[in-house]
Symmetry: C2
Subunit: 432 residues, 2 copies
């Protein structure tokens, strides 16, 4: 295919997607869910996934692939049912396209409205997780955007099978199937990055190195998180059992996740909470690396070096550092955090409030695991990614982050020079 | 000064600005307004401005400066009063920092809130208009942000005098005056552009060439409009008198403004409206350049070339092109518009609706001049700039565009693994 022509067609298709009514959009998502569960399609998808899995296991045996990746690659009937259910939930959520967020009477017969609308064409590069393809397509359709997707190559057959189903659904709704484009070559991604006149936003998921590559090679706005260096801070008034429960969840439930913790900070008065965490984490096989103060209390622990405070292990490794007080913990987080997700454990409401007020990150939590930083858990239906940028959407990005707005003004012949000291006066009266 | 140290101090000052209550913030703006009107300060500002004006007039005489610039440079008692009034209005507007925009119960004792907060440190480069300095400072303070400003060098003395007043007000409120930093050298701007670890957003106002320079030399997100190629479309059902009134306002009231029109499009059925516009614009001394069809009706008109459709004249020049129908006009706007502001004149509500629905621009108007695309006219209090980007703020950017948000989660010890098919279920119940 000629990629540029395809993306131009995607732009046209995006306009048709944008013009759907809320009911039509919901039906599109429901039909996608139903199509995924039809026995024949299900069989085709599972077969394609089996082929991807067989290749992945061979690569794993050759030591070329992380076993964790193979696990995430799997797409059986149960996972497919969950993904279809997610699409239905998304379809049932309120319509967010065409919402009037400002409605202001500038004057009699001069009405200003700010109305949400899709961005247009999204480019999304994501890891080898075929369920992500369905979620991203669902979010794109719910927000009225065309999407150009590139998944990890290990999921190639699965992604093709899923895209075939999506295309059938689009065609059945009288839409151009190029509203969803699947790329398979890395070179196509590079070509896409150059099309800043056609692509409105890139969502990049993957390694820090990959995110930096994308940002450096495009003029398209990029939504991404390059790093996920998250902290759990044990305040002096931390409950030890709670601290251990949260630490285990935040470190061990999915160590490769961006919202897993990399460093545990503790107050000198939080010794008991630290001990509880060290015992629980040690029992789970987590490699712990401590600062001098931490090792004074736990002499068997490996020493941490300066580099540990800036390392995203993505594995069962955790650095531990004592800070003198809350201010010290805040300073450490400001210096080493990646503005993703930071959490405090404390029974002291004043300390919690200060932590929540002062940490500059997308997500700031009190007495809860950093792993809650997730679009589904936040009730956004799903997420296209997590942003550590401050502009536009921040944190887990759902449908809202895929929308922009336009200012629509309906007048009756006015010019701006009709207004002023010796002319008409603005009313600026908000209708909603 | 050591610029990097100053910007680090600005970051610290920003945290204090952010922590002000709404009432304190309003008082800060009121006090700035009052300080500007105090006789001694007023005198100092007007004297500084007189020095700038004298230099500008000399430069004008040497042919080095556009007389329009000298006009905008002026800051007399009346203009100062208007600017102070703007600050008071901004102070009286509802507090937008700390607004809870999502409040969702994820579960009993697990409460998610999305809360607005300042971006942190803004860099703003703007033209030689000293009133803009006050407006930008006002918007920065209202949004709780520190601001690093660089105004046009012709306004150097005026900007210094105004910044002195702002610094006195900050100090009187116990705030570090480095919450507002005034840069005077272009080289400082270049140094600032490299501080992507300290500056959260750059607002760039100026020539298209300058905007491109800024975007190419920084990793800081840039809010700007590089071009303002706006169209007025005379639909077949346009009222001729209204068309002429809007065309004159949109072209002649401030030709250098980004929201002035550069091209007039007309439907074959809008001949009378075109004639009315041509007569009115001609009487105002606007140079008109027409396509072949336009010149068939107005043979004395200069011919337009292809380059005219992509030119922002910023002067009393206007290109005119006939398009076969609404679809043709939409296609011309999609191909040549800069996604800033587009307007249609028509008495036909169906045509108006289609135009408003299909034009992809920050502002889309019906029977109103493109010159209404302005933060003050929109009722935003003021504007820091106009954005033609789709992400974050779009169109005129007021206080809201200088804010981001954080996700705050208050739990009671939960981990994400406590939830799932065999565990607890999410409630996802919206409190507001």
């Amino acid at each position: 295919m000629d990629l540029r022509e395809t993306i131009i067609a995607a732009r046209v298709a995006a306009r048709h997607l944008a013009a759907l009514t809320g009911a039509e959009r919901s039906k599109l998502l429901e039909d996608f869910a139903a199509a995924l569960l039809r026995p024949a399609t299900q069989e085709a998808i599972v077969a394609a996934n089996a082929a991807d899995m067989a290749n992945a296991r061979l690569a794993e045996e050759r030591g070329e692939l992380d076993p964790a990746l193979t696990k995430r690659l799997g797409l059986d009937a149960a996972k497919l049912a969950a993904v279809a259910d997610g699409l239905r939930q998304l379809g049932a959520m309120p319509e967010l396209v065409g919402r009037v967020t400002t409605h202001r009477q500038l004057d009699d017969g001069l009405i200003l409205r700010r109305v949400t609308c899709p961005l247009g064409v999204l480019g999304v590069v994501f890891e080898a997780r075929p369920d992500a393809l369905v979620q991203i397509a669902g979010l794109a359709w719910k927000s009225g955007n065309a999407a150009v997707l590139k998944g990890g190559r290990e999921a190639r057959a699965s992604n093709r099978a899923l895209t075939d189903v999506a295309h059938q659904v689009l065609r059945a709704h009288g839409l151009d199937e190029r509203a969803l484009v699947l790329l398979e070559d890395r070179s196509d991604v590079d070509a896409l990055l150059a099309m800043d006149d056609l692509v409105d936003m890139m969502v990049a998921r993957g390694s820090s190195q990959f995110i930096h590559h994308v940002r450096a090679h495009t003029r398209i706005p990029v939504m991404a998180h390059a790093d996920g260096i998250c902290h759990l801070y044990l305040h002096g008034a931390a409950d030890p059992a709670m601290a251990a429960h949260i630490a285990i969840d935040a470190k061990c439930s999915y160590p490769a996740a961006c919202n897993a913790i990399e460093t545990l900070l503790w107050d000198p008065a939080a010794g008991a909470a630290l001990d509880a965490c060290v015992a629980a984490l040690g029992a789970r096989g987590v490699e712990l690396r401590g600062c001098a103060e931490t090792r004074r209390r736990h002499p068997a622990m490996k020493p941490a070096t300066g580099a540990d405070w800036d390392t995203e292990y993505g594995a069962l490794t955790l650095s531990i550092r004592q800070r003198d007080n809350l201010a010290g913990a805040l300073a450490h987080i400001a210096a080493h955090g990646s503005r993703h997700t930071e959490a405090i454990v404390t029974e002291d409401p004043v300390a919690a409030e200060r932590f929540l007020a002062e940490v500059d990150a997308a997500c700031v939590f009190h007495n809860a695991s950093t792993r809650f930083a997730d679009g589904y858990r936040f009730g956004l239906g799903a997420e296209v990614g997590i942003s550590t940028d401050k502009l536009h959407a921040r944190g887990p990005v759902g449908v809202e982050g895929l929308l922009t707005y336009r200012w629509l003004l309906a007048g009756s012949g006015q010019g701006a020079t009709d207004y002023g000291p010796s002319g008409r006066q603005y009313l600026h009266r908000d209708v909603i």
